[in-house]
Structure formats: structure tokens, C-alpha cells
């Protein structure tokens, strides 16, 4: 059994290790390692299309994760105050946001947004004072919104779990000592749930940064890093893609480890 488990771990990590190794290959070919070089990182980072896609992904991931962290935490705090029935409705919707496959989330968001823009754009044009009304279209906004849905559900879940294990006595003691609800929140609740909020933010960021399929549908004319990588690997595997894949993999691993570490921080002692 140990041999089998070892083999499975090798199976999980060997492909990743190979990509990382060959991103440092001096030669162009995948079959032979002809020497150590970081030239492909240089090539990747001087490719303007790739850098543009990377910047887009960073912007989208940061914004949607921030939105998710704020709205998701608020939702978790709100859900701790409502009845079982309301809770069940929210849990079902958030569960759906996580379980429904990306293709379905992607196409339904696309369909709904295009329809919405079809109504909003003429309306904006009719009330706008000058000749150049803003035109809503697919792009950063729609990707951020679609990623925000899954991310928010994730943050709500993580923060909710943390809230459930929060020591109620501290909250009661605080109000017994005449702290205002706001003071209690700032000095008791917030420090306790902060690690969960940060972990939720990091996981939401990772999800958004890695997502291909949802963005593929709602990106409009924008390109994110996964979309760029997808398009270029269909044209053929290059060492440049190995370099960018390595950067992305290392960054996601770091963020996930950081998130797990945050989750284990200051565990309530009950």
C-alpha cells in the first residue's frame, strides 16, 4: 500500500516537476535537457501580449478576490444572525455557485449580460447629455463579476466555519462590559475571523487567476493569462509556455500554502 501511495504522489508531482525542469532548458526541445538557462523566462516576460495577459489576470484576480472577501465576510456575519430557513436558501445558492460546472456558469452569465446590455445601452444613450454615452460590454467587469460569484461563496463558507467555532463567551463578556456592538466587532470578532478572511481572499485570488473556462465565455475582447496560454498551447508547446506555466504554478502553490497557514493561525482554543 505504501508503494502504491508513493506512486500516486509521484504521479501527482512528476508532470509538474518536468514542466519546471524544462522551463530552464537551454535548448528548444522537450526530449533532451541540453543545459541550464533562464532565457525562456526572458523571452516570456518580453512578449508584450503575454505581459498584457498577465497584468489583466492580476488585476481581475485582485479585484474579484477583494470584492469576494468583503461581500463574503459580510454575508457570513449576516447568515449567523438569520433563521434556519433563510440560511438553507443561501447555502443552496452558494453550493450551486460552487458545484455548477464552469461552462454553465460561463454561458449563462454571457447570455444574461448580453441581454442586459441590450436593454441598458440604448437606455444610457437616451439619457446621456452629450454624444458619447458609455457603452457597457463584456470585459474586465464581466470576468470580475463571474469570478466574484464562486469566490464569494467560498469566502462565506470559510468565514462561516470560523464564526461557528468563535467563543460566544467573549462576545457576551464584551457586551457585559458595556462595549458597543461596533467595538465588540472590531476588538473581538474581527481579529478572530481575520485569518479566515485572508485565507478566503488568497484562495479566491488563486481561483480567479487560474480560471480558464468562465473567463473564456465572458472575456469579450479581453485576454487573461489562461486564455492566452490555452490559445498558444493549441498552436504548439514551446519552452516559453513552460516558463510562464512555472511562474503560475509556483505562485499558486505559494498562495495556497499561505492560505492553509492562515487557516491554522490562532485557532480558537475550545
Amino acid at each position: 500500500m505504501r508503494a502504491f501511495v508513493t506512486a500516486v504522489f509521484a504521479f501527482l508531482y512528476l508532470p509538474i516537476a518536468l514542466v519546471v525542469l524544462f522551463s530552464f532548458n537551454a535548448g528548444r526541445h522537450a526530449s533532451e535537457f541540453t543545459g541550464f538557462s533562464v532565457q525562456w523566462y526572458g523571452t516570456a516576460l518580453s512578449n508584450p501580449f503575454l505581459v498584457e495577459a498577465l497584468k489583466n489576470s492580476l488585476f481581475i484576480a485582485t479585484t474579484s478576490a477583494l470584492l469576494a472577501a468583503v461581500c463574503g465576510t459580510a454575508a457570513a456575519l449576516g447568515l449567523a444572525r438569520v433563521g434556519l430557513r433563510t440560511r438553507a436558501v443561501f447555502d443552496a445558492l452558494m453550493g450551486a455557485a460552487i458545484v455548477v460546472p464552469g461552462v454553465v456558469i460561463g454561458i449563462s452569465t454571457l447570455v444574461a449580460l448580453v441581454q442586459l446590455f441590450g436593454v441598458l445601452n440604448p437606455f444610457l444613450a437616451s439619457i446621456w447629455p452629450n454624444d458619447q454615452p458609455p457603452r457597457l460590454s463584456l470585459g474586465y467587469g464581466s470576468i470580475i463579476a463571474a469570478h466574484g460569484l464562486f469566490s464569494m461563496a467560498l469566502v462565506t463558507m470559510i468565514v462561516g466555519t470560523r464564526l461557528a467555532s468563535l467563543d460566544r463567551n467573549l462576545v457576551e463578556a464584551s457586551s457585559d462590559l458595556y462595549a458597543t456592538p461596533l467595538t465588540t466587532f472590531r476588538s473581538i470578532v474581527l481579529p478572530q475571523i481575520m485569518p479566515a478572511v485572508v485565507a478566503g481572499f488568497l484562495l479566491a485570488f488563486t481561483f480567479s487567476f487560474d480560471d480558464f473556462i468562465v473567463a473564456f465565455f465572458v472575456a469579450g475582447a479581453q485576454t487573461t493569462l489562461p486564455i492566452y496560454v490555452f490559445a498558444s498551447i493549441r498552436r504548439g508547446v514551446t519552452p516559453e509556455i513552460n516558463a510562464i506555466a512555472t511562474i503560475v504554478l509556483v505562485a499558486s502553490v505559494l498562495l495556497v500554502v499561505l492560505a492553509q497557514w492562515q487557516l491554522r493561525q490562532r485557532q480558537p482554543s475550545n
Binding site: 526530449s31 452558494m94 449563462s108 441581454q115 480558464f212 465565455f217
Partner: protein, 287 residues
């Protein structure tokens, strides 16, 4: 007192407002939109034209191959995942040394959170012409084609979804009361019958959770069949991308999406029923 209660409710509503707005605008409304689209017609220039017809659903057999392939792939892929995942979860939960357990578990979780695209791409590299086939040619076995085969797709699926299968099984095995195992052995059961009658049975909720999660995600999978199957074999995911982004037949695509969601819901309900019946326990809730 009355004023306090009112303030309490206002605050609760304010806290829930952004999330509610998000869920309604980006989950409920889009879903209603594709439901409405699915009974509409394709506009001549592509997109949607209002109508009320079941023609799109009647047309579903036109994509029978994609449905058939997906309906075969999802359970087979989930089963292959399960066969690899169970021993790993078993080892992690019951056999691994205590101080290694969390580290090994983290090593299982990390790939799940890293890009499926990048990890699938790694296999294109290994299975492609300059990877394993080149190695085989070196030892004299020529002309082996690995990539763009059903086997490559299955391999990619096991690789991509393994963590998602290991986790719930681990959780249910970890919660297992070890005294039951001792009791079973004390009562003269062989290790095999203890495993079948106690361990396996009590871990079934986790198995069902993992199986149904992986199956539902596989129903909508697009990347793995496209990259490792060469896009030659059509799956529902491919059909949806094609219908929405290329041929712009939105109503037909919507009908397919609605059918896909309906199948997913049936799978979830069936999994829940089966695991309740088999073990008398509820599924492991990961989310």
C-alpha cells in the same frame, strides 16, 4: 425593545444585501435567462429570437454523440479516480504516521488549487511526440501514439480530479471510530471482512460525495478532452463552446445547458439517496 429588534434586522439585511444581489444577478437571473433562451429560436444573424417552442429540446438528438460520450466519460472517469483515490485516502487516514498526515494531506490539496490548464498541459508534454513516445522509440518501440486518444483523456481526468476524490473519502475515514475496527477483529472477523463490513461501509458517504462531485464536474469538462483528446471526440463541453462562441446558436446551446444541469441534479439526488440507504448516513458535506 421593539426598536432594537428593528435595528438588528436592518443590520442583518445590510450585511446580506451585497451577497444577495450577487447571487440574484449572476446566478439566478443567468439561469432564468438560459431557461428562457432554451424555448426560443436562433435569430437569422445568430443569437436569440423570442419564441415559445420546444424545438430546441426536440433537436437534442442532433448532439447525441456529445451526450453519449459525456455520459460514458463521467462515470468511467469518476470510477477510475475512485479506484486510485481510495487506497491513498485509506493510507492517509488510517495508516500514515501522525506527524506526516497533515503534510501529506496538504500535498494532496495543493494540486487541486493549482491551474488545471497548466497541469493538463504538462501531460501534453509527456504524452506528446517528444515525451514518452520518444523514449519508447529510443528502446526500439516505434510509432506509439499516446496523445489524442481516449486513454490520454482518462489519464488526464484521473490526474486532474484525484484530489477532489481523495478529500471526502479521507474525511469520512478519519471520522471513523477506530474502536469499531478493534471490536470487529475481537469478534473474529478477518481483516478483509472487517474492511468490507466496517471500514468500506462507513466510508461510503465520502465515496458518494467524491464520486458525485467528480462526475458533475466531468459532465461540464472542456479542457481535458480538448487538450489531451485533440478535440476530435466531442463532449458536451465542446458542444457548448461551439454553439455559443462559434455557430452562435444560443437557444440550442441553452437547451443543452439546461439538460446538463438537470442531469447533474439527478446525479446529486441519486448519490444522496444511495448513500443514505447504504449506510444510513448523510453525504460528507465538503461545501
Amino acid at each position: 425593545m421593539h426598536g432594537n429588534r428593528f435595528r438588528y434586522n436592518i443590520l442583518t439585511a445590510l450585511l446580506l444585501a451585497p451577497a444577495t444581489a450577487w447571487l440574484v444577478v449572476f446566478l439566478v437571473l443567468p439561469f432564468v435567462a438560459i431557461a428562457v433562451f432554451s424555448v426560443g429560436e436562433r435569430a437569422p444573424e445568430g443569437g436569440y429570437q423570442a419564441a415559445f417552442t420546444l424545438a430546441q429540446y426536440a433537436n437534442l438528438p442532433a448532439r447525441a454523440t456529445a451526450f453519449w460520450n459525456t455520459m460514458m466519460l463521467a462515470p468511467v472517469g469518476a470510477l477510475a479516480c475512485l479506484l486510485v483515490a481510495y487506497p491513498v485516502a485509506y493510507y492517509l487516514a488510517l495508516k500514515a504516521p501522525q506527524r506526516w498526515r497533515l503534510i501529506l494531506l496538504a500535498l494532496v490539496v495543493i494540486p487541486f488549487w493549482t491551474s488545471l490548464l497548466m497541469r493538463t498541459y504538462a501531460w501534453m508534454y509527456i504524452l506528446g511526440g517528444r515525451g514518452i513516445p520518444a523514449l519508447l522509440a529510443f528502446v526500439g518501440i516505434e510509432d506509439v501514439r499516446l496523445i489524442n486518444t481516449p486513454g490520454a483523456v482518462l489519464l488526464g481526468i484521473v490526474y486532474g480530479y484525484l484530489p477532489l476524490m481523495i478529500l471526502p473519502i479521507y474525511v469520512s475515514l478519519e471520522r471513523l471510530d477506530r474502536r469499531l475496527l478493534e471490536a470487529s477483529a475481537d469478534l473474529g472477523a478477518t481483516p478483509l471482512s472487517t474492511f468490507l463490513g466496517v471500514t468500506l461501509k462507513l466510508s461510503l458517504p465520502g465515496v458518494m460525495t467524491g464520486f458525485s462531485l467528480v462526475m458533475i464536474l466531468l459532465l461540464g469538462e472542456y479542457l481535458i478532452p480538448t487538450l489531451l483528446g485533440g478535440g476530435k471526440v466531442f463532449f458536451i463541453g465542446n458542444a457548448l463552446v461551439d454553439l455559443f462562441l462559434q455557430s452562435r446558436n444560443w437557444p440550442f446551446g441553452s437547451a443543452i445547458a439546461i439538460t446538463l444541469v438537470a442531469v447533474s441534479v439527478v446525479v446529486l439526488i441519486a448519490a444522496n439517496r444511495i448513500s443514505t440507504r447504504v449506510s444510513g448516513a448523510r453525504r460528507v458535506d465538503l461545501i
